[in-house]
Amino acid sequence: MRIEGKGRVDRLAPVRFRFDGVEYRGFEGDTLASALLANGVRLVGRSFKYHRPRGVMTAGSEEPNALVEVIDGRQQTPNVRATVQEIYEGLEAKSQNRWPSLKYDVLAVNDLASRFLTAGFYYKTFMWPRKFWERIYEPLIRRAAGLGSLSGRHDEAEYEKAFAFCDLLVIGAGPAGLMAALQAARAGADVILADEAAQMGGRLLADSAEIDGKPAQDWVAEVLAELEAAPNVRLMRRTTVTGAYDGGTFGALERVGLHLAARPDLPRECFWRIVAGQAVLAAGAQERMIAFEGNDRPGIMTASSLRTYLNQYGVAAGKRVTIFANNDDARQTARDLMAAGVTVVAIIDARPDASVAEDCPVYTGAEVIGTTGRHGLTGITFRYHGGEVQLATDCLGVSGGWNPLVHLTCHMNGRPQWDGALAAFVPQAGAVPGLHVAGAAAGVFSLGHCLAHGAEVAAAALAVLGHKVAPIAVPQADEAGYDIMPVWEVKGSRRAWLDFANDVTTKDVRQAAQEGFASVEHMKRYTTQGMAPDQGKNSNIGALAVLADATGRGIAQTGVTTYRPPFSPVSIAAIGAGGRAEGFAPQRFMTSHSASVERGAPMIEAGLWYRPSYFPRPGEVTWRQACDREVAMVRSAVGVCDVSTLGKIDIQGRDAARFLDLVYTNVFSTLPIGRVRYGLMLRADGHVLDDGTTARLAENHYVMTTTTAAAGLVMRHLEFVAQAYCAGWEVRFISVTEQWAQFAVAGPMAKTLIDTLTQADLPFMGCALVQLGDVTARLFRISFSGEQGYEIAVPARYGEALFRDLLARAETLGGGPYGMEALNVLRIEKGFITHSEIHGRITAFDIGMAKMISAKKDCIGKGAALRPGLLEGREQLVGLRPVNDAMISAGAHLFAPGAEVKRENDQGYVTSVCYSPTLGGYLGLAFLQDGRARHGEMVRLVDHLRGIDLLCEVSDPVFYDKEGGLLRG
């Protein structure tokens, strides 16, 4: 019901929206909850376990009941809090956890069976028979469980993430937060003020308070105007600071587009990482419920939320309102409602000595013991002076006191402390370095004191940063104390709810204690209290108070469960913003990319690089046809392949040679200028790190190549070795991977092709600078195919031109481009290793290169490589050829023929396989126990996954041109 003249929604801007298919009207500035209440809609959801009818309970982000699905285009977002969701024209929301409809929900039958469905029901019931679990119990539970549903489609909406930095982050824009921000702003600090609501002001928007004799809202407007105008202040509305992390880093979720109909390119949410020199937590406090019988009916709400709906939205949540409280604060709700013309039937105050001076009946020392109303509250029963009184009422505002929102102070393992006078937990000072707590969050409850505290705490925080702070004037406001008598539950025979979202009652908590789950952490997990979307914001303190009572321990001794980020739910899409599809990882393209794509080459990812898999020709249906042709082409004519992805590191200095001797197992100081040598690099633990060729361009100038996969790894390793072990050495290096586009030209016609470009008579493993017109290129005579081979490198700007030019020349000679598939076949035929073989658990000994560890010098990893056990009795690199040339697979395991196929008999595994068109059958590279001594023997190859079980002949890993005659040409 809307109240004329109240609230700050825009009455001139009506907004149409739909809930469960019915169209309603609200106003701009409404939340879904306020608009539904204005339309008299009280039933908005069903509870998790018992499917009890539920209505809006709060007016904030802590809402446990009014969780709905919002449908917007292709988006379907479950568990949206109706108290947070602002309405917009065309908003479509749906209740959840009910079937077939909200009013007639079949699973409400659970409520009738509630005496069996208490804490631990699932644990006890679905234990046996064991085989029922997977087929029967789990699907059954899955169907019944969960709140809301997803669309089942990819979330293709935009999300954003961003970084922000400030001197002072102020969390919460209520009275304390606004004063903190104002103090910091005037001190010239770089300030961010973040608040989770659409409008800043916190409870000042919801209360009828006065500041300096004016309505508090006017003061808020003035302060915000000053802050908006200050160049050193950023206001972040709709932004919830969700977590406090190391080093002054805070996580925050901004709802960017959720209050609007979806529009192109507008992010739904933005996840901020805010780095703050210091921070002020002014998150305020949250009102808690009291557990009494039937306290979960629609129409039973927190007393302060009634005030919020009235003052902020101009909505009366009921026509005949009753208040049930244990403190003074709830009186204001009654007064505001009466002033607005709403009937307040009674105030039921649990305190025997409370004042009775109000304009409505006040019952002191009384407590509510029962409620009626199937889909919404119709009446209550309360105990008063030993008798029971019944009242007809459609709305009950409850206040069990206020809990300071200490959450962020606990995110780094801090625990809040019990304050008996406030009957609440308050933050422990210094629990998060640099985070200062102000206002109600610190247990300062009067408005006047909050204003002063906010300014004072901000000044203290700024002093830490070395700012000189002139204290600002604190406006005058009510400084009345907060009187409370703890009341956690009204003991009764039936169910009194603590956790509304997860349907946990006082009875469940007592049962947990009785069954031995007496620690608060155990009770939580046994009853699921605090594990719903509100994460116990509405129930943790009440539940532990009941547990304290059940176990006879005090509340302080019982303690709280661990508070963890996030403070309120954060969508994974926001945290992972930008990481979907192309944003997952950078794409690295070679200069030949478009030329390869033009030729129809499918791309294959090699690390971040995109490399052509093969170059299909007309008539070729499978990749194998193209691959076989490309292999034959390289073996018979000439092929061109872009090998720019290999890491290239330029190394210079008087100690460059000495440095290479330190990082490589073999010697590079003896390498003549103009020559290239293959090198093997070890990790500190003696296993192979990488291999590659290094060329000596000049006396003090080398260029090292790494594998594509390990380029970054090798760079990091070289930096470590240089910085940790080589102080004073004259050696400098830098990656030139991106500087040079490099192409392999391989095949019996390779030299013919190269000779058409430049005159250079290079010996095998030679290198030289050559001129291609005005461009100085580097030419290397190296081969990864086993054929006569060159690699030619030009500055990357010329890469595409040279690639296209080389292809034209190769095609003239009967050759052409070859891709990764053919490259792989060529190297397997030749027994060349890649990171399929040197996968991290491999030693030089395993790959038959133990002799490459020079005896004449030390090198990184040498001592570790020579350890006993690494030089004998290991699996060694071998070649495999299956009998009958049947197909084999990488990943298959090897066994002695006749041995049972079980782990204990495992003798090795296959790392690489290919079909070799050159040799007319499958080839494999494998690691086999004592493999080098077993050439000619048969082994059994088993791949359970692909159903392969056959015999292979063990051979030398080099299948093709063992002597290397072709290579050397």
């Binding site: 954003e160 507008l266 990882a585 950078p586 400098r732 991977t737 991106e738 500087q739 017109g773 700007r797």
Partner: protein
């Protein structure tokens, strides 16, 4: 005789003008890595700064390393390891009032603190980047092979900024 055609990393990419920023590829000219053998050599920029070296700029790019952008190597070859990097990097310029705001989506460093003459070696999304503050915005150097991704990521956040501004 071969005459090879040169192509810039983002060859053919038109500038993007939107949401208060202009994103464009820039030709950095000659880029040379200067890594002095003695790090205390005079004229070498302090960390995170750019010094003028004649008509060129000497931009600090890491421990004991700076890039000489837009000029000849001169005497550096006598005291430093000198490596051509002209083709290894793509140059982007992001100018306009929204430049800091756009980069706040991708770069985890407070770029408001960078004045002309400052630079930072950090990351742009998952990519290594050299950020150089210039009049009215920034120059960004990313690995040549990642130029398309850098453009795509910047264009995406510019698009979202535009949508935010339209609200």
């Amino acid at each position: 005789m071969v005459n090879l055609i040169a192509k810039s990393p983002l060859w053919g990419q038109a500038p993007l003008v939107s949401a208060g920023v202009t994103l464009a590829e820039v030709d950095l000219g000659q880029v040379t890595s200067i890594a002095p053998f003695d790090m205390a050599v005079p004229g070498f920029p302090a960390p995170n700064t750019v010094v003028a070296d004649g008509a060129a700029r000497l931009v600090w790019t890491g421990r004991g390393q700076a890039f000489l952008i837009g000029g000849p190597v001169g005497d550096w070859a006598e005291v430093a390891a000198v490596t051509d990097q002209s083709d290894g990097w793509a140059g982007l310029s992001l100018l306009g009032a929204g430049a800091v705001d756009v980069l706040a989506r991708l770069v985890p460093v407070d770029l408001r603190r960078l004045a002309v003459g400052d630079c930072a070696r950090t990351q742009l999304g998952h990519m290594a980047v050299i950020v150089i503050a210039v009049a009215g915005g920034f120059e960004l150097l990313v690995f040549r092979s990642m130029a398309q991704t850098a453009w795509h990521e910047l264009a995406t956040v510019i698009k979202m900024r535009g949508a935010r501004l339209a609200c």
